[in-house]
Symmetry: C2
Subunit: 182 residues, 2 copies
Amino acid sequence: MASTKPLISMVQVNDLDYESFITVFGNVIEHCALAAAAVWRHRPYRDVNHLHDYITTFAKALPLEGQEGILRLHPDLAGHLADAGQLTSESTNEQRTAGLDSITADEKQKLKSLNDKYRDKFGFPFVICARQNKKEAILNGLEQRLQNKCELEVKTGLEEVLKICYLRLRDIVECADIDSKL
Amino acid sequence: MASTKPLISMVQVNDLDYESFITVFGNVIEHCALAAAAVWRHRPYRDVNHLHDYITTFAKALPLEGQEGILRLHPDLAGHLADAGQLTSESTNEQRTAGLDSITADEKQKLKSLNDKYRDKFGFPFVICARQNKKEAILNGLEQRLQNKCELEVKTGLEEVLKICYLRLRDIVECADIDSKL
C-alpha cells in the first residue's frame, strides 16, 4: 500500500517543530494525536524503529483506561464508518488490503455479528493489523479472541495497534535500509 | 458563551455508547479524543463534576511526556491558526471571550513575541483558560510564567487545560443546578 505522499527523511523528521510533527504523525495511532505530541520531546530519533520504540513506551505506560481508550478510537472492521466512507484514509487502505472491501454479504453479516458481540463483551472494538491478515484470518481471529479475558484483550489489541502504527510510520518515513521490526 | 447545540442531560450522557460519547466529548480537551475515550468506562457519572473528576484523574495519571503532549495539542493564543480561521470552534469562542480577536497590532506583536519565547523555552505552547482571563491578564500571565521552570509549567498548563475542559463540559451537559468547581 504505497502512500501517494513523498517519503520524508529522518533528518527532516528530526527538524520538525511540534506542530508539523503532529500534523505528519498525528494519525499513526488512529485518531490519537496525543501519541505524536508526547514523543516529539525525544528527538532526535536514529531511525523509524527508534521513533516507534518511543511510541510503544508511551502507549504501554498509559493507565489501563488510556490503553482501552486507544482501542475505542478505532473503527469496526467493515463497519458502519466503512459503509459511509468515513474511515481515515489510512484505515480505508488497510481494510482494502485485507480484502474487507470485497466481502460477501454473508461474511459481512458474520463479521458484524462478531464485532457486536466483541464490543458488548469488552467495551471496545476488535482491533487487528489488517495489513498482516486476510479476511479469513480476521474472522477466525475475532472468533478466537472473543473467548479471552478483558485484560488480555487490551494487551492483544494494543500490540495490534502498535503493528498498525509501525506500518503507518514506514509509509511516511524513508526507511528502505532499515530492517522491519515485524 | 452559549453553545448553539441543545444541552444534553446526564441521563442521556450515561446512555451513550463509546462512539457517540467520543463524538460528543472528544474535544473537551483540545484535539485529545483519548481523554473521552478513556473515561467512558466509568459511566454512570453522577453529574458534570463527577465526569470532570475522571478526566482530571486520567490527565494527571499520564506520564510527563503525555502531559506535555496535551499542551502541544493546543494552539497559540491569537496565533497563526487563529489568523487563518483554523481554530476549533471551542477555541475560537474562548479566544473571542478574552478579547483576543480585537487586540491592537502592538499587543498582537507582543503576544507573538512572548509566545515564541515560551515555546522555545519549554517545547510546548502557553496555555491559559481564556474564558477566565482578559487579554491584559493573559499578557501579564505569559510574561510571569516565562520565568518558571519547565516542570512547574507542565503542571500549571495542565491545570489550565482542566479548567478549559470543565467549562467546555458545562457547555455540553445540563448542569444549571450543579455548583461550579471553578
